[in-house]
Amino acid sequence: MGLEGRWRDIDYLLTRQGNVVGPGFEPGPEIREFLQNDCRVLVVGAGGLGCELLKDLALSGFGNIDVIDMDTIDVSNLNRQFLFRMHDVGRSKAEIAAQRIMQRIPGVSVTAHHCMIQDKPLDFYQQFHVIVLGLDSLEARRYMNSVACSFLEYDEDGQPDLSTIKPMVDGGTEGFKGHARVLIPGVTPCFECTLWLFPPQTKFPLCTLAETPRSPAHCIEYAKIILWPKERSDDSFDADCEEHMKWVYEKALARAAEFGIQGMTYQLTQGVVKNIIPAIASTNAIVAAQCTLEALKMVTMCSTGLNNYMMYVGTDGVYTLTTPYERDEKCPICSAGVSYEVSPSTTLQQLIDGLVADPDLGKHLSAPSVSYGSTNLYMRGALEGQTRHNLEKPISELVDGEGSVIHVNDRKLVSAMKVRLKFNGTNGHMET
């Protein structure tokens, strides 16, 4: 095909033994053949990171790539999402991105999925060797995390079963800063283990918005949160609709003028309403390339892997920090089972109430169902009637005893939370 020697540079890495490599690295042409023909990688998100990831993976020898994104292309994407052109505005990101990669790089197959990540069954995610995340929301990250962790199984010694590990690589950026991290369920921390890494969003108190606005942002939030439902209750607000955004801006501008607040702009209005995180090409490219390199290392062991979080700050010179974060042994999503102490006489109802009220576990639960092995102990929905009678029974009658692992499911979770029961022995100690 006239492309002999095309993979020369990557082949140095894959066919030569090295001194600084991952465990079990066996150099040879088979590795690139595996990458080209058999290895399956999924890119979640075809935006700023996603476009870069697709290009980087394809030029690192990955031959079979899937990409999933529900979004369509917007003008403001063009400053960084380099696979898209002005005439693509309005079309599917996943489809256009896949098309452009295949046009440019002969022999690479990219399959596009223009849908929500929640639309796909778990089997879909099961088929990939590695999943690379190019997302901008915590919510989507938590969803993908629960998907990856749902495949994880532990052996009887509490060690993760290596064949059930679905590794992920995650990247994120904001302005000149970014991060890349490696998530190996059961080995490195999952998102839930390190939720504190994601800063909370700022929310203004309602009384400030309504009574004592002091900044343009206060006026914008007032127009959107209070005035819109009041004056346009028939329309649902759509941040992507220019007329809606202009309306909010006009109202916010009027309110700012009424209170003598300066500095109101349309750009600021968009920023506040859409919670825009500034994104630029260069930072996305740094993070995506680092993520791709880690995916390559994970699959081939051609070099040492990132353990397990890299922070990049480009505002003051360049500062990077690589941190081996620790797993939360009590994580309800990726651990072998969170230890939970109950009295043997606690009823199932009391146990469920206790789980929902628990400060750590409760945040994942709203209306949980409980099962033990293949037995449904209490199920919401169709099986509710059949299992309701268990609610009054003491838990010791429902499970095999100390150390039993029950599965707690909830619509907030993709996969069951594993709870390892510990009986505290003193009958009747539990408060009711």
Binding site: G2, L3, E4, G5, R6, W7, R8, D9, I10, Y12, L13, R16, Q17, G18, N19, V20, E52, K55, D56, L59, S60, V75, L78, N79, M86, R104, I105, P106, G175, F176, A180, T212, R214, G260, I261, Q267, G271, I276, P278, I280, A281, S282, T283, N284, A285, I286, A289, Q290, T292, L293, S303, T304, V313, G314, T315, D316, G317, V318, T320, T322
Partner: protein, 540 residues
């Protein structure tokens, strides 16, 4: 008009980082790229997307199959065609407002035959040049006052080296800013405003909406009166100070009312006894000889630094001009806006004083005092606390044994944190010497990888010996480890796409910093270690 609107939409996310004035600077930038390998094209890709004015690609090579395995900005159709031409076409597709051109000639030959060619650019991005080529382009760029970025991707090693004699930064945009509120030393207007608010007489709603800055000014004043003019110093005193604040809260039946402004005052009490200080970076700028000798040629930055220095010594009484903005605080709209007005007025007055100094300084230097716009002075004063200066050594200074900073190199090689990356820095230079000697990079042939490792290591040791760094025989104390020598040979100067993408993207960030004058560029050689996922910056 439609074009303008489209631009503000297209570049919206970037403008949110560097502002409309930053975007304007980018849109004026004429960039020259040397070598259209992936390191170069990735750098340009990121800049073309951001909306630079134009670019010119200089490359004498033809597109080969190996190029198609690592470079996205070339096409299979372009095989055997000019690499400069094909890359230029692919880059132009990314943004129709950016003009692109190319010169089909090797950078080395162009540097030798027509060094003046480079004078027309704002920024030169020189990629994959050997050390000798880098020294040459650095000399040319410095001579013409053109900014330069030197880039290398070499196996799992990346290198980014800005070369600018002096980058003067007004908008350094630090991650954390301090609030300059003058709570313990209010100027007369602020003091009078605080005094005009009658805490005891205020009705409850008003009382719970007095901004915390006012509460702290009042508390500081009372504390001083009761403590011989001193501020709270010890831990116990600080607790007592907070108790004083709490004692002012309203109570109903002995239970304190929830007053958010008081909660904020207690949480911000440290601003009374720990006001912002002048950073060591700013102190060094104020003491720089460029500020002491304003000439016909002095850039306005230095004129303003000289004026700033006079302000601090005179009107400021040791303080910087007030920035003028205040953080949000729980308060009624009217009280907050009034407070904001008072701070802004003081900032304006300070800026006017700095401006007067600046005009005197210009006049004394025989320059037109009206040549400095008031807006520039205000902008400068607003950011004065965070001024930064970056001076890069010339590449010749860095690499010649007589002027290289051998002590810094020795220290970096023996510090656990930087040893590996300093060794990679040495090995990259050693690989260039290897190439100069043997006309190939180490590890080019599968059968010679091990022999080449030994030769590369001796090149590295020779380089260290020239700098007076001995004991470099591979021992732990400051040597270059065999593992890294082996890894450098293993990759045989391969330009891996991912490493090129990281280098090109770091370079694009640095380019944006150099072009906009915002944020702080790297002041030396940045080494990216893709094995360990680390970076180090060395100012050797």
């Amino acid at each position: 008009m439609a074009v303008v609107a489209d631009k503000s939409k297209r570049y919206d996310r970037g403008i949110r980082v560097w502002g409309a004035h930053g975007q304007e600077a980018l849109e004026a930038a004429r960039v020259c790229l040397l070598n259209a390998g992936p390191t170069g094209t990735e750098t340009l890709k990121n800049l073309v997307l951001g909306g630079i004015h134009s670019f010119t690609v200089v490359d004498g090579a033809k597109v080969t199959p190996a190029d198609l395995g690592n470079n996205f900005l070339l096409t299979a159709d372009g095989l055997a065609a000019s690499r400069a031409q094909v890359a230029t076409e692919c880059l132009k597709e990314l943004n129709e407002s950016v003009a692109g051109s190319y010169v089909e000639e090797s950078p080395r030959s162009l540097m030798n035959s027509n060094p003046d060619f480079f004078r027309h650019f704002t920024l030169v991005i020189a990629t994959q040049l050997s050390e000798a080529g880098a020294v040459t382009i650095d000399k040319i760029c410095r001579q013409h006052g053109v900014r330069l970025l030197l880039l290398r991707s070499y196996g799992l090693l990346g290198y980014v080296r800005p070369s600018v004699p002096e980058q003067r930064i007004v908008e350094s945009k630090p991650d954390s800013k301090v609030d300059d509120l003058r709570l313990s030393n209010p100027w007369p207007e602020l003091e009078a405003y605080a005094a005009s608010i009658d805490l005891a007489g205020a009705e409850d709603v008003l009382h719970s909406h007095i901004p915390y800055a006012v509460l702290l000014i009042k508390a500081a004043q009372q504390w001083r009166q009761e403590h011989d003019g001193q501020l709270p110093g010890s831990c116990a005193e600080r607790t007592a100070f907070k108790d004083l604040l709490k004692s002012w809260q309203r109570h109903i039946d002995g239970i304190p009312l929830e007053e958010e402004n008081f909660t904020e005052a207690v949480a911000n009490a440290h601003k009374v006894w720990a006001p912002p200080t002048v950073s060591s970076e700013l102190r060094a700028i104020l003491e720089d000889s460029c500020a002491a000798h304003i000439t016909q040629q002095s850039p306005s930055f230095w004129v303003l630094v000289a004026a700033l220095k006079r302000f601090i010594e005179q009107e400021g009484q040791g303080q910087l001009p007030l920035e003028g903005s205040i953080p949000d605080m729980h308060a009624s709209t009217q009280q907050y806006l009034e407070l904001q007005r008072i701070y802004r007025a003081k900032a304006d007055a300070d800026a006017a004083a700095v401006e007067a100094h600046a005009r005197n300084i210009l006049e004394a230097a025989g320059r037109d005092p009206a040549s400095l716009p008031t807006s520039e002075v205000k902008h400068f004063c607003k950011h004065a606390r965070y001024l930064r200066l970056v001076r890069c050594r010339s590449l010749a200074e860095e690499t010649e044994p007589a002027s290289c900073r051998a002590d810094s190199l020795r220290a970096a090689l023996s510090s656990e944190e930087t040893a590996a990356n300093a060794a990679l820095y040495v090995l990259l230079r050693a690989a260039d010497r290897f190439h100069a000697t043997y006309q190939r990079y180490p590890g080019s042939f599968d059968s010679e990888v091990e022999e080449d490792a030994a030769l590369l290591k001796s090149q590295a040791n020779a380089l260290l010996a020239e700098c007076g760094i001995s004991g470099a025989g591979g021992s732990a104390a400051g040597g270059v480890s065999d593992d890294l020598v082996g890894e450098v040979c293993r990759c045989a100067a391969g330009e891996l796409h991912v490493v090129a993408a990281v280098v090109g993207a770091i370079a694009a960030q640095e380019a944006i910093k150099l072009l906009t004058g915002q944020f702080v560029p790297v002041g030396g050689a940045l080494v990216y270690n893709a094995m360990a996922c680390t970076t180090s910056v060395f100012a050797f």
